[in-house]
């Protein structure tokens, strides 16, 4: 329970802490791992040499993300009516689905909830409790995909020392979440929706482009030249809403300290590297640990890990099998 709370604090912006107590099992694992340094280095090099770079999870994820968004598009364009609406609210073969953050802001601004709104919100809530909350970000949100692509450009420029990454405090996103909620209540308008690139892009895909794409373009420029993945990392309240929803989700990425060489490749590709703090030597208190609610389950770390220390797992299911 203590770790769950720490992870939630971490999602809200707190810096990761060193564990107070490391279990005996982990102590034993670490002892054995470093007992023979030559063997350790050999094993590490061996694992590296035999690691075929894989994009398995990235490709699956992109396929799902694109397919989901295209299903919205074609439901309207070709009138196949499977998934009608946009990401903020839709009907899947007639069933209401309503984005949790959009629903929250409509409720806060309008202060009135009708049955359909409640049904759609509840359905989506259950869906993302099961599927891992922030998986919405990496597996569905169209802005995430664009930002991933421009992130590559940013990293290329950083590599050549043309730009430097400016980090903000991760707690900024929590402040944004509270401010936008407050603004919805006080002004009576869904203020965040005006700037949400998720909604803007989803509507642009389905109903045709508009000037609002200019704002999305500015955000991407900011991320390329100033701060890596700034919107998703430091601003977007949708991510925090889904993070909270997925806090106890059974679907997660788990870390197995036994297989880890603590090299940190995973932290370099991660959108939210603080969730991978456990992969630093001496930070894992248990043999197996879930990465927590802020993890978007994007699978970049799973793909890049040469030893299989990071895996997709359904909580409870692995024990059962």
């Amino acid at each position: 329970m203590g770790r769950t709370l720490d992870l939630i604090r971490g999602m809200l912006g707190a810096a990761p802490k060193k564990p107070e107590k490391v279990s005996e099992k982990v102590q034993k694992i670490m002892f054995l791992k470093y007992e023979d340094k030559d063997r350790y280095i050999k094993e590490k090099l061996h694992a590296r040499a035999h690691h075929a770079t894989s994009h398995k999870w990235r490709n699956r994820r992109w396929a799902v993300l694109i397919a989901t968004n295209l299903l919205f598009v074609f439901s309207f364009w070709l009138d196949i009516q499977i998934l009608e609406g946009a990401l903020t609210a839709s009907r899947f073969v007639g069933f209401h689905l309503i984005d949790l953050n959009s629903a929250l802001h409509v409720m806060l601004a309008h202060k009135h909830i009708i049955v359909n709104l409640f049904i759609g919100t509840f359905t989506v809530f259950l869906l993302w409790v099961l599927l891992g909350g922030r998986s919405f970000c990496s597996w569905v949100c169209p802005y995430h995909l664009l930002a991933e692509w421009t992130e590559k450009l940013h990293l290329w420029l950083v590599d050549r020392k043309i730009v430097t990454d400016h980090e903000f405090h991760r707690g900024t996103r929590t402040v944004f979440w509270l401010l936008f909620a407050l603004l919805s209540v006080v002004t009576g308008y869904t203020v965040f929706e005006t700037l949400s690139p998720t909604g803007i892009l989803s509507r642009a895909l389905i109903y045709g482009p508009g000037l609002a794409l200019g704002w999305v373009f500015l955000l991407l420029l900011f991320e390329v030249f100033w701060s890596r993945r700034a919107w998703c990392r430091y601003v977007c309240p949708i991510g925090l809403t889904y993070g909270a929803v997925g806090a106890l989700s059974p679907l997660q990425i788990t870390y197995h300290v036994e297989h880890c060489f603590h090299e940190g490749d995973c932290r370099k590709v991660c959108l939210v590297p603080h969730v991978l703090d456990v992969t630093v030597k001496g930070r894992a208190a248990e043999e197996t640990l879930g990465l927590g609610p802020d993890c978007t389950r994007c699978g970049y770390c799973v793909d890049i890990c040469p030893t299989g220390a990071l895996r997709y797992e359904v909580r409870g299911l692995s024990k059962l099998l």
Binding site: R91, A109, I114, L117, F180, E193, T194, Y207, Y234
Partner: protein, 281 residues
């Protein structure tokens, strides 16, 4: 004061000046980001509070403030409209981004759907058949009786489930109106390029067709009256010496068909979104 100042220094481990500066810079930049983004979002107020003519919203829309608050910007109303009359606001509309409106001159709501489908499609009640009591009703908005849809005149239930008008027609340029000048009209109402559609019951009861495929020939132009989908919403009154004037009646709901069909370069009759009925003129 000096004692209090000393205490944290004693407890906290020493932090290098460089690290402290870095943390401070990060904090200030984070504050800057917050102020910047929230400031940008509040620019959305400008179009909402500016005095320009309000958009014509789809039928069943709550009053403007409530409508902007309750609309979830999903466009499901856009998807069900058989004549594609509903458009979504862009970033220039501020808080009205993604919120549906009707540009009546380009494509009016002609109730081809018979049942006001957009209201059915709305997941949040921003478009509604039954307005919650606590929201109140604008003066001049309630309709004396449910509007009778001419196309459904022979059906057992010919009336639309609409309790309030969403706009009101107004003869804005009587001097240019063909009927007022005693003139007739012949040809395509809006020319061969016009993309707008309308349902003509005598052509096809169920499917709308392009307006350009339905030419007219009238001794006295009465398109705004004859094409109005609602019974008793507008009438042509003789003013003597062969001239006529279109007069908007209390049953007008504000659908905008008269504005769309007016064959002049600039429509003589227009629909004002949210305009109240003021007892006839």
């Amino acid at each position: 004061m000096s004692e209090e100042g000393k205490q944290p220094a004693a407890r906290k481990p020493a932090v290098s000046i460089e690290k402290a500066q870095k943390a401070r810079r990060k904090f200030l930049q984070s504050v800057g980001l917050t102020v910047g983004v929230v400031g940008a979002s509040l620019l959305g107020y400008i179009p909402v509070s500016s005095a320009r003519a309000p958009h014509l919203r789809p039928p069943g829309a709550l009053d403007e403030e409530d409508f902007l608050a309750s609309c979830i910007k999903c466009g499901q109303c856009v998807q069900v409209c058989p004549v594609a009359a509903i458009k979504l606001g862009d970033i220039g509309d501020g808080f009205g981004i993604g919120v549906p409106y009707i540009a009546a001159r380009d494509q009016a709501c002609d109730f081809s759907c018979d049942a006001v489908q957009c209201i059915l499609a709305c997941p949040t009640g921003a478009l509604t058949y039954h307005k919650p009591d606590f929201l109140g009703v604008r003066p001049g908005a309630p309709l004396a009786q449910a509007p009778l849809l001419k196309a459904k005149a022979k059906d057992p239930e010919p009336r639309l489930n609409l309790k309030e008008r969403f706009g009101l027609a107004r003869l804005a340029r009587p001097e240019s109106c063909l009927a007022v000048q005693g003139k007739g009209f012949k040809g395509q109402a809006r020319g061969p390029e016009f993309k707008g559609e309308m349902r003509y019951v005598d052509v096809d009861r169920w499917a709308p067709i392009p307006v350009r495929e339905h030419p007219y020939e009238r001794e006295i132009c009465d398109l705004c009256v004859s094409e109005c989908p609602i019974a008793d919403a507008i009438s042509l009154q003789a003013t003597g010496d062969g001239r006529f004037i279109p007069v908007v009646q209390e049953q007008c709901v504000g659908c905008g068909v008269c504005e769309m069909i007016c064959p002049l370069e600039t429509a003589a009759i227009v629909v004002d979104g949210r305009a109240p009925w003021q007892g006839g003129a």
